[in-house]
Every structure is written in structure tokens, then in C-alpha cells.
């Protein structure tokens, strides 16, 4: 059997498929029907067909779909006969795959949510619409500017700086700690790394309680390392775009994390734990500390309201400047979409305070609009520290291959934690790989 023969026949097969597809469209319709060509479902008696828009949004929780469907339905009712939006959702960890493949297939959604760290990757490929010409006056002023700036980037391809997304889910990370365990051990919230290590060891009582939760497997290993790196004055990339993760501050940060784990200040063998597992353990009372976003408040209130905990800034190494780890997700327009004006209209619609307020509250995200940030809901003792922390939040740098950088850092942290390499070796290797990208 020759490959060449198969390939030639493959091409003929594609033509056969097109035929099949035409037949199929007649016989089967196209699934849910909402997207199938030529079946306008909105508007009765108008001459023109409604503009069809697709809106892809990640699932932050099992509530996300309902929240977004409400916005979409309201919009569709208001724009009956003119614009019709269909909601699509994807599990968070599959969102990047989905966007990459749909963009590659020229079938991306008109409006979509994405992680802000992907701005450079997608804008370099010309997939993200620059929003500056749409973002004007009063509408722009509603946003907390620090968050809006997170998606400003200058693609090498065009050399033109632009805003490529609107903040749609923001978080600042703080240290959750067990008030009762700390009180019992006579400790206060740690403010520097010595206190952190001390507290981690003193509050740990295996196998029932461990100190600091360290998720060194799965999707957030790199972000977790930023707590240490940034609070030791280190960074991933220097001003010239070269890796500096292996400088003294970087190595010191990873050294400290390895030391904390080796001296049993964390759960055993963190490379066997993902973020989801660590969150469950903290919630169930089996960890004394874990740094994460405001959503943990909501989860604790729902699942284990008796847990005695408090929130503090993540400790900074002595003599270094503190930095809050901030993460934002953005909402973007597909640059190759055919109805960008209508898409923007939908974006403006969904950014009404009432929708954002509800979304931020239910999903336990931080407000990205000034109006929401000052509301009563975000002035509670649980949430106020997070909202305030947002103002000096630090975000990951823009790099068109940031996904690769995340993988590289994850592997470096894992190698150091399992003892395969020393922290210095691991970070040197990481720096070399980052520079080779």
C-alpha cells in the first residue's frame, strides 16, 4: 500500500465529503439548528436576515453558562431581527486548543474570552482585532485602567501598539491561612519568608494537616512559582526580552521553595498534587496556608463555612519589594470576523454594570469596572483586600510563545522539586530554552 496512492485518493475523498455534506445538510440539518445556514430564527416578517454572531466563553464554574446565556438572551431580544448571538462554551483547560484550532480553520467565534497572556500569541498571527478605535470616551473610562493595560501589546508583525482585549475576569492572589491553627501555634500571618517557613513547619501535623499547599502538577505550577519569584525581585524576562529567570533572585526563590518542601513545610511530594487537589485539601482543613484568588472565599462559604481562615498578602523576602500576582482574562473580537460592528455592539451590551456585577459576584472574580469595584458587595472584609491589591498587581509579560514559557517553567520547578536537577541547573536550562524560542 503506497502512501502516495492513499493521499491522492484522500483528495478525491474530500470532494466526496463535500457531496455527502450537502446531502447531510438536507437530511440531518445541522445539529442544534441555531447555526445552520439559511434558518433565521429571529425576526418575523423583516426583509433582511439577522446577522448571526458566535460568542465563545470559557466555563469558570458550572454557573458560567447560565450567566452568559442570560446576557445573550437579553441581547437577542433587544436586537430581534437585527443581530442574533449564539453562546458556545468550552472547559477552561481546553480553551486554548479550541481557539487555536478554530482560528487555524478560519472558523473562530466572533467574540471570545481568552487568557490575557495569549494576547501576543494570537495578535502576532493577526487573529485579534485592535480595539482602540472602538474603545472611546466614556466607555473606556469605566474600566480600571491597570486591568485594561494588561492587554496592550505591540505585535512585531505590525509594530503598532494596540489594546487587544477587555478585562473580563480578573483576580489578585493572596495568602489564605488558617486562623485557628495560627492562633494555636501563637503565630501571626507571615510577612516574610522566614516567618513563612517557620509557620509552614509549625502548623503542620501530618497526615492530618500540612503547611503550605504547593500545587506542582497540572496547570498552575508556573503561576505558583511567581509568588516566590516576584516577591524576591526576580522576573521571567528582562527589559530586552531575554530570560532572567536564572539570575540570583530567581535561583534564590526556587531554592527557598525546594527548601520549604524538603523541610516538610508542605504536603509530601508536591509534584503529585494539582491545584484542584490543593484547593480541596485547604477547604477540608488539611492545609494551613495556600495562596490563591478570591474564589476560594466563595467555595469555603459554600462547602465548609465553619473553617476559620483569614487572608493576607503573600510574604515578601526580606529587603525586597512586595508584588501581588495578578491574572486577567480578556474578551476579544476575532480580527477575521465579518460582523465586527455588531460584535462590538454585543460587547458593549454585555459590559453593562448589572451583568458584570452579577458575573463577578457569582464567579468570585474581581471587578474590572470602577462602578462595580465600589459596590457594597466588594467592600466586605473578605473581598476588599483583593480589590485593593489589584492596584499594584503584576502580570506575566507578553511573549508570543508564552504557553511554551509556562511549560518550561513548570518543568524547571518539577525538576528542582523531584531533585532531578538543582534549582540553579533547572533554571539555567529553562532560561536557555526560553531564549531559544
Amino acid at each position: 500500500m503506497t502512501v502516495g496512492g492513499s493521499v491522492r485518493k484522500g483528495l478525491r475523498g474530500v470532494m466526496a465529503l463535500v457531496l455527502l455534506a450537502v446531502m447531510a445538510a438536507v437530511v440531518f440539518g445541522c445539529g442544534s439548528g441555531s447555526k445552520s445556514a439559511g434558518t433565521p430564527q429571529v425576526g418575523t416578517g423583516d426583509s433582511g436576515k439577522a446577522v448571526e454572531l458566535r460568542f465563545l466563553f470559557p466555563e469558570y464554574s458550572d454557573k458560567t453558562k447560565g450567566l452568559m446565556q442570560q446576557v445573550v438572551d437579553d441581547f437577542n431580544t433587544e436586537n430581534k431581527g437585527k443581530v442574533h448571538v449564539t453562546l458556545e462554551t468550552a472547559p477552561w483547560d481546553k480553551l486554548h486548543d479550541k481557539l487555536a484550532v478554530t482560528m487555524g480553520g478560519n472558523q473562530a467565534a466572533d467574540v471570545f474570552g481568552f487568557a490575557t497572556r495569549w494576547v501576543s500569541e494570537f495578535s502576532e498571527l493577526g487573529q485579534l482585532e485592535p480595539l482602540d478605535s472602538y474603545l472611546t470616551g466614556a466607555f473606556k473610562d469605566q474600566f480600571i485602567s491597570r486591568l485594561l493595560e494588561a492587554s496592550v501589546y505591540t505585535p512585531k508583525a505590525t509594530g503598532k501598539q494596540a489594546t487587544f482585549g477587555l478585562p473580563v475576569a480578573a483576580s489578585a492572589r493572596m495568602l489564605f491561612y488558617r486562623k485557628d491553627l495560627f492562633d494555636k501555634a501563637g503565630l501571626k500571618a507571615p510577612t516574610n519568608w522566614d516567618e513563612l517557613l517557620d509557620a509552614a513547619k509549625k502548623t503542620s501535623a501530618p497526615p492530618n494537616v500540612y503547611g503550605l499547599g504547593v500545587p506542582a502538577s497540572g496547570i498552575e505550577v508556573d503561576t505558583f512559582f511567581m509568588y516566590f519569584l516576584w516577591n524576591n525581585g526576580g522576573d521571567i524576562l528582562g527589559p530586552n526580552g531575554k530570560a532572567v529567570i536564572n539570575n540570583t533572585q530567581g535561583v534564590e526563590a526556587l531554592d527557598f521553595l525546594v527548601k520549604l518542601v524538603n523541610e516538610k513545610g508542605s504536603e509530601l511530594k508536591p509534584t503529585g498534587f494539582t491545584r484542584e487537589q490543593i484547593i480541596e485539601m485547604f477547604k477540608a482543613g488539611q492545609l494551613s496556608m495556600y495562596p490563591t484568588g478570591p474564589w476560594l472565599n466563595t467555595m469555603i462559604q459554600r462547602d465548609n463555612p465553619k473553617l476559620a481562615y483569614a487572608v493576607a498578602p503573600f510574604p515578601v523576602n526580606k529587603g525586597k519589594t512586595a508584588a501581588t500576582v495578578g491574572v486577567t482574562d480578556s474578551l476579544g473580537l476575532w480580527a477575521k470576523g465579518t460582523h465586527k460592528q455588531e460584535a462590538w455592539k454585543f460587547v458593549q451590551f454585555m459590559y453593562q454594570d448589572k451583568y458584570r456585577q452579577k458575573f463577578d459576584e457569582v464567579e468570585a472574580m474581581l471587578p474590572e469596572k470602577k462602578g462595580v469595584a465600589t459596590s457594597a458587595a466588594f467592600s466586605t472584609p473578605d473581598l476588599k483586600p483583593f480589590v485593593d491589591a489589584l492596584n499594584n498587581a503584576k502580570f506575566v509579560p507578553h511573549h508570543p510563545k508564552f504557553e511554551n514559557i509556562q511549560q518550561i517553567i513548570t518543568v524547571a520547578v518539577q525538576k528542582a522539586l523531584t531533585g532531578e536537577s538543582t534549582p540553579k541547573q533547572a533554571l539555567d536550562e529553562a532560561a536557555q530554552k526560553i531564549d531559544a524560542l
Binding site: A16, L268, E403, T418
Partner: protein, 328 residues
């Protein structure tokens, strides 16, 4: 992903294009065979339409520089391949793949043999035993893997709880925390989900052995052991080989168990080719090298199957095959 074993064995029969066919011209043969082509058409159209473009696409991407959204931008010849061959990580993942496939397939076969023999015995509850054994096979690999992820959880592992209770361990075993322990866990799960298919295949092989042979052996005073060595095992060779070939294809390409349990971590130590290439493609956006690995995977399996088919064919020519089995 697939629970259905791959049709690894090209169902070779002694027939085929016979001497009588060769006397006619090709066109005459084609005309005579038109009913055959008509019957084959739906299958071939389906396969060409759906499967061959993706395969073609994989080949093209493996020879191109591909951007992060899977569009080929430049032809680079064998560049992706040579770059791979220069990456030490690729060779390590390849050897991990060989270890994973080798251990899972061989241990599964060794365990499945007595299981098949037992299922072929008459004992009370045999039907229930057969039915029970099917359960892990019927549940998808994904679901099997998810259950095991929970059983092997770092904090809440029920196995650790058991070992604690038996005083076998002083501190919990973190099953996915380091490569060696993780491999033990992953390979054990791999074996458990492969046992049902293997056992049933071997059982099918056992049942095609004519009963008279055993009668004769018994008359000669042979015990179970002697009968197994001289009758069962030789006549089972064909079934064993086919089952092994299927298992190799199927385990080599198996994705969910490793993905759900470790995602190949820590630091690529539990990756196999298929999980590594998935990461390269979808996490790192390197579709070119990922496609090259896909092609390498395919070529390895192809080479393996062909040498296997050749081996089988040789055995058939030597007339060692047991011939057609009697159907009830």
C-alpha cells in the same frame, strides 16, 4: 481512547487473487468484480472522506513549519524530523513508550492466560465471572482513568488508607509524585484495563482447539500441565500473536490513562509519544514536530505489523496453522 481493539490482523486467507484471475485482462477482472466494488464503495468512500484527509494533513504538517494555529506556513522537508532526532527528550520519551508498551502487553498476556483457561473451565458462576470481567472493558478508558485518579489521590487515596491500616506504610505514598512510583501505578492501571480484551481473545483461541485432542492426550495419560505444553500452547500461538499485535497497537496509542493520571509529569518522566505529541501540539503550539512524531508513531506500528504479518504468513505456509475451526 478506543476500547475496540484495532483490526491489527489483515485476516489473511489462503485465497486472494488466484491463478484463474491472472489469465484474464485486468479490465475483465474489474468488470467481473464490479459487484465487489459496489459493495465496498460505501466503506471506502467513508474512509477516504473522513480519515484520509487528516492523515494527509498530518504528513503535510510534519514536513512544514506550522504556526500556532495549525496552518502550515513553509515547507521544511525533513527539518522537523532531524530536529526531533537531535532532541534527547524525544529519545527518552521513545524509550518510555517502549517500556510502557512492552511491560503492559507482556504482563497483561501472562495474567490473561490463566484467566482465559479459567473462563474455559466449567464451574458454578462461570457466566457471572465472564460478565464481571467485561465491566472495565465496557467503561471507557477515560472513565477507568478518572476512577483511578481518585483512588490514587495524594491525600484521599483509599489504597493508602488500606496500607496504613495494615501498618505497611508510615506516611502516604504519593502515587503520581515521582516517576518510578507513577510508572508502577500507570502500568498497573494499563494492565488492568487490557486484561478483559486479552482474556476474551485468548478464550476464543482456546475454544477453537478441538476437544478430541485433549481426549487423546488423556488416553495417553497426559496431565493438565503436559496437555498445556503440548496441545494448548502450540495451538494457541496464532491467537496469542494476533492478540499481542492488537494490544501493541492499542497500548502504544493509548492516551487517557497517562493523561488523566499524570499528564506525563513530573518533567516528562511519564510521557509516552502520544501524550508528548499532544502536549507539543496543543500546549506548546508546535504542530510541526508533533505531526512528525505522529508519522513516526505510524511508521513504527506499520513496521511492527508488517513484520508480524510476515511472521504469521510464514507460519501458515509451513502448514502449522490449525486450519479452520469447527463451528457449533
Amino acid at each position: 481512547m478506543s476500547q475496540v481493539p484495532a483490526p491489527g490482523y489483515p485476516a489473511s486467507t489462503g485465497r486472494g487473487v488466484g491463478a484463474q484471475l491472472n489469465r484474464d485482462g485486468l479490465w475483465a477482472q474489474v468488470v467481473r468484480g464490479r459487484l465487489a466494488y459496489l459493495f465496498l464503495a460505501p466503506t471506502l468512500i467513508l474512509i477516504f472522506a473522513v480519515v484520509f484527509y487528516p492523515i494527509f494533513n498530518t504528513f503535510v504538517m510534519s514536513l512544514s513549519e506550522v504556526n500556532a494555529v495549525a496552518q502550515p506556513v513553509r515547507f521544511v522537508g525533513l527539518g522537523n524530523y532531524t530536529a526531533l532526532f537531535r532532541t534527547p527528550l524525544f529519545w527518552r520519551v521513545l524509550s518510555q513508550t517502549a517500556m510502557w508498551t512492552g511491560l503492559v502487553v507482556s504482563i497483561t498476556t501472562v495474567i490473561s492466560m490463566p484467566v482465559a483457561l479459567a473462563l474455559n473451565l466449567k464451574f458454578p458462576g462461570r457466566r457471572i465471572a465472564r460478565a464481571m470481567l467485561i465491566i472495565p472493558w465496557a467503561a471507557s478508558l477515560m472513565i477507568n482513568a478518572i476512577i483511578w485518579r481518585w483512588i490514587l489521590d495524594g491525600q484521599y487515596s483509599i489504597i493508602n488508607a488500606l496500607l496504613f491500616k495494615l501498618h505497611l506504610i508510615q506516611e502516604p505514598i504519593i502515587w503520581t509524585g515521582e516517576a518510578t512510583v507513577a510508572w508502577v501505578a500507570i502500568i498497573s492501571v494499563g494492565i488492568l484495563v487490557s486484561i478483559p480484551f486479552t482474556s476474551f481473545s485468548l478464550l476464543a483461541g482456546l475454544q477453537s482447539i478441538p476437544a478430541e485432542l485433549y481426549e487423546a492426550a488423556r488416553v495417553d495419560g497426559a496431565g493438565f500441565g503436559t496437555a498445556f505444553v503440548h496441545i494448548t500452547f502450540p495451538l494457541m500461538r496464532q491467537a496469542l500473536m494476533v492478540t499481542t499485535l492488537m494490544n501493541v497497537i492499542y497500548v502504544f496509542n493509548s492516551f487517557p490513562i497517562i493523561w488523566v493520571l499524570t499528564e506525563g509529569g513530573p518533567a516528562y518522566r511519564t510521557d509516552i509519544l502520544i501524550t508528548y505529541l499532544y502536549k507539543e501540539a496543543f500546549r506548546n503550539g508546535r504542530f510541526g514536530p508533533a505531526s512528525a512524531m505522529a508519522v513516526i508513531t505510524f511508521l513504527l506500528l506499520l513496521a511492527f505489523s508488517l513484520s508480524f504479518a510476515k511472521l504469521t504468513a510464514e507460519r501458515e505456509r509451513k502448514g502449522e496453522s490449525s486450519g479452520n475451526e469447527a463451528r457449533g
